[in-house]
């Protein structure tokens, strides 16, 4: 195996482990940006978030939430950042999916605040439409929609049906 993080998962490598279960492990980063900078990694090798199965996502992020809570309670911080660098364009360092949990204090010398980019109304609309089209298609065909339907209130599904009826009625009227 050549992946550094998988090596760590196998028990090789000199790290300060702080948490472990059957799916994930968490350890302190060797060169942290603040004290208590935690790396949470999956034990299985996934390169990017998109490869992590849905069944594991909830587990991983609830662990991340608890680690984050523990970090700011034990280190007396003023908050935490949770950052995922997903893909080379985002500055991902190792080809293994990790979540970075960073305890923060006032004046800790860190600044993750970006300068907003000025986009024209047209640019915004283009991006909106591009993304929206895809979320629609995924919601219809994918597994996710099934879940959402289960979770829907009765009222919501009724509304949808009303909408469909109206649409059908309209198209009927148009036929002659």
């Amino acid at each position: 195996m050549t992946c550094v993080i998988c090596e760590i998962g196998q028990g090789n490598g000199n790290i300060r482990k702080i948490f472990e279960d059957d799916k994930v492990m968490a350890y302190l980063k060797e060169k942290p940006c603040t004290f208590g900078h935690i790396i949470l990694a999956t034990k299985k090798h996934y390169t990017i978030l998109e490869q992590v199965p849905d069944t594991e996502i909830a587990h991983i992020f609830n662990i991340a939430n608890k680690l984050s809570t523990a970090a700011f309670e034990s280190l007396g911080g003023g908050g935490t950042n949770i950052i995922i660098q997903n893909g080379s364009g985002a500055g991902q360092m190792h080809p293994h999916f990790t979540i970075e949990i960073i305890p923060r204090r006032e004046n800790d010398g860190l600044n993750f605040q970006w300068q907003p980019k000025q986009l024209s109304e047209e640019e915004m609309s283009t991006v909106e439409l591009t993304l929206k089209q895809e979320t629609d298609t995924i919601a219809v065909g994918g597994e996710k929609k099934k879940e959402i339907i289960k979770e829907d209130d009765n009222t919501e599904t009724l509304k949808e049906k009303e909408g469909e009826d109206n649409y059908l009625l309209k198209s009927l009227r148009r036929i002659p």
Binding site: R16, L28, K29, K31, P32, C33, L49, E50, D54, I57, A58, H59, N62, N65, K66, T69, A70, A71, F72, E73, S74, L75, G78, G79, T80, N81, I82, I83, I84, Q85, N86, G87, S88, G89, A90, G91, R104, R105, E106, D108, L110, N111, F112, Q113, W114, Q115, P116, E123, V127, E128, T130, L131, K132, Q133, T135, I138, K144, I148, E151, D152
Partner: protein
């Protein structure tokens, strides 16, 4: 938590909020939260995705074109207040949104960014996930995580404190490791407890060590409540601490059970 960073004005507001009932509080927060207004449709936004639990909109001050804010529909200020199912759901949606960005926006990565607390750069009182499309040379070096060389001794101290707290939060009892006979005793206790009533605590010292841990567990259940409620619960716990000692004996020895609870 955030209370440490409040200005006098905000502190006065905090005081006011403390005297409200949970219903009043929820109503108050909704009225004053711009993101709750976006969710209810009172304020216009460019919606990308919506389901019963969350809403994704384009950030009006984007760091990159396509920068999405993913908001829980219920008002939570910070992530620890959120129930586990909502956290799980939101990150599943974040994963899908990230996937869509990679496919449609010709980007080579995404940054998923969460700020909990003002010190972490949180600006709004409504929890949100930033999903940001990224590519090389996009000028967002500010999102790169710097590395620092630190003192070995400090790392040891931080590690110690963190592990202690994490074990509390997850209900893991680290002291059990030392004598092997003791572990066997505990295993027997665990077996017995599956069939019978929990036994009274065996060692007083052990009970003391694990008391803070019990505080955490009810807090997890109460995540969806407001901070105020959590405080109330903390008070209650102190009163009930005697009862809890028994519960502890039931839970601590069997880590598998705890792990299952966490899923």
């Amino acid at each position: 938590m955030e209370t440490a960073n409040l200005s006098p004005e905000q502190a006065a507001m905090q005081e006011k909020l403390k005297n409200m009932s949970p219903e009043e509080l929820a109503e108050f927060q909704k009225k004053n939260c711009i993101f709750c207004q976006i969710i209810s449709g009172k304020v216009q936004s460019k919606k990308i995705y919506e389901d019963p639990k969350c809403l994704a909109v384009l950030d009006i001050n984007p760091s990159n074109p396509g920068h999405i804010l993913l908001l829980p529909k219920e008002h939570y200020s910070i992530m620890p207040q959120m129930p586990e199912d909502v956290i799980g759901h939101m990150f599943m949606i974040a994963k899908s949104l990230s996937n869509i960005m990679l496919k449609t926006l010709k980007v080579t990565g995404t940054t998923i960014f969460v700020a909990n607390g003002i010190a972490a750069g949180q600006k709004a009182q409504h929890f949100m996930l930033h999903v940001i499309p990224r590519k090389e040379g996009d000028g967002l070096d500010v999102l790169n995580i710097p590395q620092r060389q630190v003192n070995e001794n400090d790392m040891v101290e931080v590690h110690k404190r963190l592990v202690e707290k994490i074990n509390q939060v997850f209900g893991i009892q680290q002291e059990v490791k030392e004598p092997e006979e003791h572990i066997e005793d505990l295993k027997e206790v665990a077996k017995e407890e599956k069939s019978a009533e929990p036994e009274p605590p065996k060692e007083e010292s052990k009970v003391e060590e694990s008391q803070p841990e019990e505080k955490e567990q009810p807090a997890e259940e109460a995540e969806e409540d407001d901070e105020e409620d959590q405080e109330e619960e903390d008070d209650e716990e102190q009163e009930d601490s005697e009862d809890e000692d028994e519960e502890k004996e039931e839970k601590d020895p069997n880590l598998d059970d705890i792990a299952r609870l966490l899923v």
